[in-house]
């Protein structure tokens, strides 16, 4: 790994790690009596070994000049592995949380394992740990190939990848110690947030620097989506996390916003995290790996344009549908609801574009589980966006809000769309990255597919039932005109569905374990003697234009 860095980059790496370790030391000193101090030690414990690691490789020969005529894929490989580690961990914790709702004693009487702490551990691990790493890894892979340009340098992608995982680690360990901003999907405290901004800016710069040097005349759709993802997530993250720390020695901070403004900012962030992290980024993934795997051209370039601008423009308005019937002024709710309805059209156009791209390749969908992962993901994307627009209608929301229906909706998207498109893309990209003929076992991919699909369906059906029953119980009145059921009654009614949900989650988790094993074994098998076409890290000759690649800076 170090051998791919130039001498200058090795030195810079040591300097950066040294500065980080010093920041860690300062945090440890300033936050002696606070979780902040523990995070300081965590940073030191990670940076110091990394410094030694770089020093140990410092005198290895510098990378040859030939590297510049190839793509740089090592960070993508590391990102894929990181994504798989996070998903196995995150799904395990997720299923544990699910069983806690069935058997509350599964907290084992400890504070760190209480529901309120490990739930964000689950969400952060799967969304940011798994999703984020997969997005970084695939975006760098796609960016280089669709721009026919090598990444600008070797160090910055590593900085992004390692820095991003450090952020995830600080987030997750923080929750276990009780550190949280109490904003859903934005739980990490101020110091983690600042760090993520730095990492994210570097990520965006890699994108811009590579695109600026591209050899293709046009920017491919996948890159529009990846760019939207990076740019908007930066804006969302910064605005929603503006806060004043109690002191530089404390993890706790107070948000700049309060009351209903805080709620609106949070859900503007929250829903756009769904839009730009969980949709836009993964659409980027889909737009590259699905046509690659299917060997088909994109169905309609024009539809790509309509969907892209529809999605990016309309999503911005819909966050208020999370706050129907609250203190939020009704006119804001109206806008959230109506834009949610209009949003359905570009969303379905995207899903349709993906599915219609498969015309002429349906026999492959039947035979190839990897492509089937992506196909089913597009179907779930369509289903979930329909459901989302439906739930955004105020009277529907009056029933669905605060119930398990929301959880079901989220997981139709998170499991059915995000995770399936990611697994499909990973199964496509792993043999390409590691230059293998195919995955270690096609049958295990098949097994993973069925585990994941059945897990998702069980999960989603359980939560639909549970949510609708719950919602109806909460609004049923008896003849006296008072509520017929206590909250406890609704919990008792939920119990069987909680068991079903946790079982579905277990299947999904097992699928990920199978996938992890399969990927691991693929990496361990010997590389194929001769790999053809797209699998190389040397550009494919384009039909028009020169085959050469734009070298790094």
């Amino acid at each position: 790994m170090i051998s791919t860095l130039t001498k200058g980059e090795r030195e810079l790496a040591i300097v950066i790690l040294g500065i980080l370790a010093c920041v860690g030391l300062a945090m440890a000193a300033a936050g002696r009596a606070d979780p902040l101090g523990a995070h300081g030690w965590l940073i030191i414990a990670l940076c110091v070994p990394m410094i030694f690691f770089v020093i140990a490789g410092y005198y290895t020969p510098q990378p040859a000049e030939e590297r510049l005529s190839q793509y740089y894929d090592d960070p993508s490989k590391a990102g894929i592995i990181a994504a798989m580690v996070w998903v196995v961990f995150g799904l395990f914790v997720g299923d544990w949380v699910a069983w806690q709702l069935v058997y509350p004693d599964l907290t084992f009487d400890a504070a760190w394992s209480s529901f309120g702490r490990i739930r964000p551990v689950h969400t952060t691990s799967v969304i940011f740990g798994f999703g984020g790493n997969a997005l970084i890894a695939t975006s760098l892979h796609v960016l280089q190939r669709t721009s026919r340009a090598r990444l600008p340098d070797q160090l910055s992608p590593w900085f992004v990848l390692v820095g991003y995982n450090l952020f995830c680690l600080i987030a997750v360990t923080g929750y276990l110690m009780g550190v949280t901003q109490s904003k859903e999907y934005a739980e990490p405290e101020w110091y983690a947030d600042i760090w993520l901004v730095i990492v994210w800016v570097v990520y965006f710069l890699i994108y811009l620097r590579t695109l600026a040097r591209r050899k293709e005349p046009h920017i491919y759709v996948a890159n529009w989506y990846y760019m939207a993802f990076i740019l908007v997530v930066a804006v969302l993250h910064i605005v929603n996390n503006i806060a004043v720390p109690v002191s530089f020695g404390h993890a706790k901070s107070y948000s700049l916003f309060s009351g209903v403004q805080d709620a609106m900012t949070q859900w503007w962030y929250g829903h756009n995290a769904v839009a730009f992290f969980l949709t836009s980024g993964f659409l980027g993934m889909m737009y590259y790996y699905l046509p690659m795997r299917a060997g088909r051209p994109i169905f309609s370039y024009r539809m790509s344009i309509i969907s892209f601008w529809g999605i990016t423009f309309m999503y911005m308005w819909v966050g208020s549908h999370h706050l129907h019937y609250t203190a939020l002024p009704q006119w804001v709710q109206t806008l959230g609801m109506t834009f949610s309805l209009m949003l359905l059209v570009p969303s379905w156009a995207s899903a349709g574009n993906a599915l219609l791209t498969l015309n002429g390749a349906w026999h492959k969908v039947r035979d190839d589980a990897t492509l089937r992962f992506m196909m089913v993901a597009a179907v779930f994307y369509g289903l979930t966006t329909f459901e989302g627009s439906f739930m955004a209608i105020r009277p529907v929301n009056a029933l669905s809000h605060y119930t398990d229906w929301t959880i079901g909706h989220v997981h139709a998207g998170a499991l059915g769309w995000v995770a399936l498109i990611t697994f499909g893309s990973i199964y496509a990209v792993v043999p390409w990255l590691w230059k293998r003929e195919a995955m270690y076992s096609g049958r295990l991919v098949e097994l993973h597919f069925w585990l994941a699909l059945s897990g998702t369906i069980i999960y989603v059906f359980a939560m639909w039932n549970s949510g609708i029953i719950q919602g109806l119980m909460w609004r049923t009145y008896n003849e006296s005109g008072t509520l017929a059921y206590s909250f406890l009654d609704s919990l008792v009614a939920m119990h069987p569905y909680y068991i079903a949900r946790a079982t579905g989650g277990l299947l999904f988790f097992l699928g990920a374990v199978v996938g992890f094993y399969n990927i691991w074994m693929t990496i361990r098998t010997a590389p194929a003697a001769q790999v053809s076409d797209v699998r190389t890290d040397i550009p494919v000759p384009a039909s028009a234009g020169t085959p050469a690649l734009q070298p790094g800076e």
């Binding site: 190939r145 669709t146 026919r148 293709e216 005349p217 046009h218 491919y220 759709v221 590259y288 046509p291 690659m292 088909r296 051209p297 994109i298 169905f299 309609s300 370039y301 024009r302 539809m303 790509s304 309509i306 529809g310 019937y325 002024p329 009704q330 006119w331 709710q333 109206t334 806008l335 609801m337 109506t338 834009f339 309805l341 209009m342 359905l344 059209v345 379905w348 156009a349 349709g352 015309n359 002429g360 008896n478 003849e479 006296s480 005109g481 008072t482 509520l483 017929a484 059921y485 206590s486 909250f487 406890l488 009654d489 076409d533 797209v534 550009p539 494919v540 384009a542 039909s543 028009a544």
Partner: protein
């Protein structure tokens, strides 16, 4: 531009670009996409005209229907209150002694009391009010603080060891931890306490302990628990002669009670539940006990 390339499967032309082998077709956007865009937009337009929708600086467009969620919810609450007033005023005005005889009012008490209890009390006292370790059974045994409707209502109003100014105060001293009694005395009196509800112990192998414990009890415990151990509602001291326990009647639990003392905490509900709700709860609990097998 290069010679137009067509996709053999669909017959559509490509855009002429290629990225790493991926091409795009120039297929026109299918009609339904435009149709649904127009439909959803028209619907939205319609909705904006009818409902509060767009900000106009200091205010917003109110919508032709004049609907406002605040007035809607106020109106809904007013109507619901009016429907409930049929029985609410009766319960508020009637005495505790007459309500149980009124079947229609008791139906309200049973329906409404059950949900009120489920939402506010069940977490501690259990869904069926039968209590659990540390929380008294409200359906059986003698009362800690008295079983008249007024006494029960007062317990609910002020709570026990709560933050309320008039809170009832229950204090079972920590005889062991505070070194008020030597360990042997504690063991003896524990055996004696157990024998109050289980006389067979007095004649078993622990007979000696029970006899010695009786003396310890007489000097240390009767002030609160009464001469016969029947409890005292002035102090909230439980009856030790029945088989209904708060903290457990096995030897170990009694030892723990005596060693560390007990101060049960029952919240005050004065600020959280209306007088009507508290009255319904009082009636509900008493009704549960009356009907308990």
């Amino acid at each position: 531009m290069a010679i137009e390339e067509r996709d053999p499967h669909t017959g559509h032309a490509t855009t002429g670009h290629e990225w790493n082998g991926i091409k795009e077709l120039n297929t026109p956007v299918p009609r339904p996409v435009y149709f649904f865009l127009a439909t959803t937009f028209l619907f939205s337009l319609f909705y904006w005209v009818l409902m509060p929708a767009w900000p106009t600086g200091v205010s917003y467009t109110k919508g032709l229907l004049g609907i406002d969620q605040r007035t809607t919810v106020a109106e809904n609450l007013r109507q619901a209150a009016m429907e409930r007033a049929v029985w609410a005023t009766k319960i508020e005005a009637s005495d505790y002694s007459v309500i149980p005889a009124d079947a229609s009012l008791m139906q309200v008490v049973r329906q409404t009391g059950r949900t009120l209890f489920g939402d506010n009390c069940a977490a501690c006292h259990g869904a069926n009010a039968k209590g659990g370790p540390g929380f008294p059974n409200l359906t059986a045994g003698s009362w800690l603080w008295g079983g008249s409707p007024e006494a029960v209502a007062e317990t609910i109003r002020v709570g026990v060891n709560s933050t309320h100014g008039d809170a009832r105060v229950a204090q079972m001293p920590a005889f062991g931890k505070d070194q008020m009694l030597p360990r042997s005395d504690i063991e003896n009196v524990a055996a004696f306490v157990q024998s109050l509800s289980n006389p067979s112990i007095a004649t078993g192998p622990d007979a000696g302990k029970v006899a010695a414990g009786r003396q310890v009890f007489a000097t240390n415990c009767t002030a609160c628990h009464g001469e016969a151990g029947k409890g005292n509602i002035e102090m909230g001291a439980p009856d030790l002669t029945d088989t209904v326990w708060i903290y457990g009647g096995d030897r170990q639990s009694i030892m723990t009670t005596l060693y560390g003392g007990r101060q049960g905490h029952m919240p005050t509900w004065e600020a959280r539940l209306s007088p009507l709700d508290r009255k319904i709860l009082t009636l509900y609990i008493l009704d549960l006990r009356r009907r308990a097998p």
